[in-house]
Symmetry: C2
Subunit: 332 residues, 2 copies
Amino acid sequence: MTQTNRRWIYAQAPAGAIETGNFALNDAPVPQPAEGEALVRTTMLSIDPASRAWMAGATYRSKLEPGDVMAGWGLGEVVESRTPALKPGDLVSGEFGWQQFAAVPARHLTKHDPRHRPEHILSVYGITGLTAYFGLLDVGRPRPGETVLVSAAAGAVGNIAGQIARIAGCRVIGTAGGAEKCEWLKRDLGFDAALDYKAGGIYRQLKAAAPEGIDVYFDNTGGDVLSAALSRMNIGGRIACCGNVSQYDTATPAGGPAGVPGLLVTKRIRMEGFIVMDFYGRRRQAEETLARWVEEGRLNPAIDIVDGFDNMPAALTGMFAGKNRGKLLVRV
Amino acid sequence: MTQTNRRWIYAQAPAGAIETGNFALNDAPVPQPAEGEALVRTTMLSIDPASRAWMAGATYRSKLEPGDVMAGWGLGEVVESRTPALKPGDLVSGEFGWQQFAAVPARHLTKHDPRHRPEHILSVYGITGLTAYFGLLDVGRPRPGETVLVSAAAGAVGNIAGQIARIAGCRVIGTAGGAEKCEWLKRDLGFDAALDYKAGGIYRQLKAAAPEGIDVYFDNTGGDVLSAALSRMNIGGRIACCGNVSQYDTATPAGGPAGVPGLLVTKRIRMEGFIVMDFYGRRRQAEETLARWVEEGRLNPAIDIVDGFDNMPAALTGMFAGKNRGKLLVRV
């Protein structure tokens, strides 16, 4: 075992958009697992939009502070165990942070079937896929024949949410940045329509793509797409609030959508935020369903892999610049 | 029967705040009921904040246009019937408009028990009471021991919503304009706390009154109280969106609350608009429950009666100026 734990430190709070200079590499000794913990060697790390929100304040976790090891989820192999629940060689996921080794309490680790591909464990069978599954089905509650809109549809959660809506018998519209991503959504992932928000006129585009209105909106972005969606929601519509990525990577977030609360009242809209952990009681069932869809070829887990631990900050800034398609992962 | 039908016409769209000059008196012949209709003589009319929203655009009804008889709900007596469902002398409510006589299809009229007081039929047993009942219980879903916030709590719907929350075993906080109304909410209606939004610092006041946060917010106002409530909602909180009265009486509505959608996500808040008519399938049951609470002295229907049909516009502008306490009615 190497004696060094290479880590990315969250060195400096971003002034506006996040930059690679906000992070610093640092070597530390490999941690010693305490009683009840396992030492894990990280093999793959997940890059998530929520990273930026963690820097802005307390969310479902406490605020990240400069000097902390950068937070993040990953997949790894147990190299030493001080818990009867795990043994060396086990494949586990958890919040390891951006580092090559982490000592983690067993109760915060999830053990995985090594027959699954690592990139699937961290995407469609992990938090990303479960977020799409529970957010769309339990919060959005689409019915067959309804029209579903998904923002950031080329992103990790969005592409899966849209594909699940299609499996549920809905007409699916996605928004994404750029004509190429829009083509990809339609051609490779079966979206019925895709709108390029960077081309402007999102309200007009949405009206043309959904002349009969929107029944369910899976909102990853907030901002202009949320405002446009509110104006096009049908009576009894549902908005599953998953994220607010349009407002994360800025020092000056915009105000809320003007249609709130007026349009919620006149159109009886339910707008509901959720956190995937609240649904973990039904996690196994959801994972099995997602796995069956992947095996049957009905769900295409779109994954974008970057090689090399040193590229973590660049992968994150690239995501906010809209470079990735689907789930962004770094092979450590 | 008099041969003249005195009517208030919605003469001119308000430039900003509504004024009595936006209405004009007009005499017309008494209408003839068609087959299936009843001719009703109006005895009492309801003054509602939604009036202003009807002028701004289509809501759950089409937009009011200058030249229309002003819209509004009322109570009256059938004077001529061309429907087997009703006979002269029957006490009925419906959307009569601001006029002394109306010919209305029987299916749009609700017959009432003449033993009830007219002002109760148009308040606690009518749309007002049902709005508070279904909005609080079905949309807000308070549990005993939770903290409930009601905005415009001295208003028609708000005072009943707050009293129902108290009956449901909750701690109840209301917002109102002015120290006198706040005192009245606590002394006469049993609110645990009342916050004067005109005194400023609503966020600070709310934090002091609800140190453990808000579980259910019954929102009649939108605006600053909604923003403050969002910041103080507990995880899993619910916001029943009943109205947006802070933004009705203006030509320049403010933007939406900045906490949407970010706080909805991190705190898993459900924010849901509703229209009372959607719950009419359970109307009788709700009316019986409300009537029992009134008879038992547990629910105090706060009513403010203005005398004289000629005072209709002044009653409406007075309501937006915050003059009334509880349900505002005009005796025709």
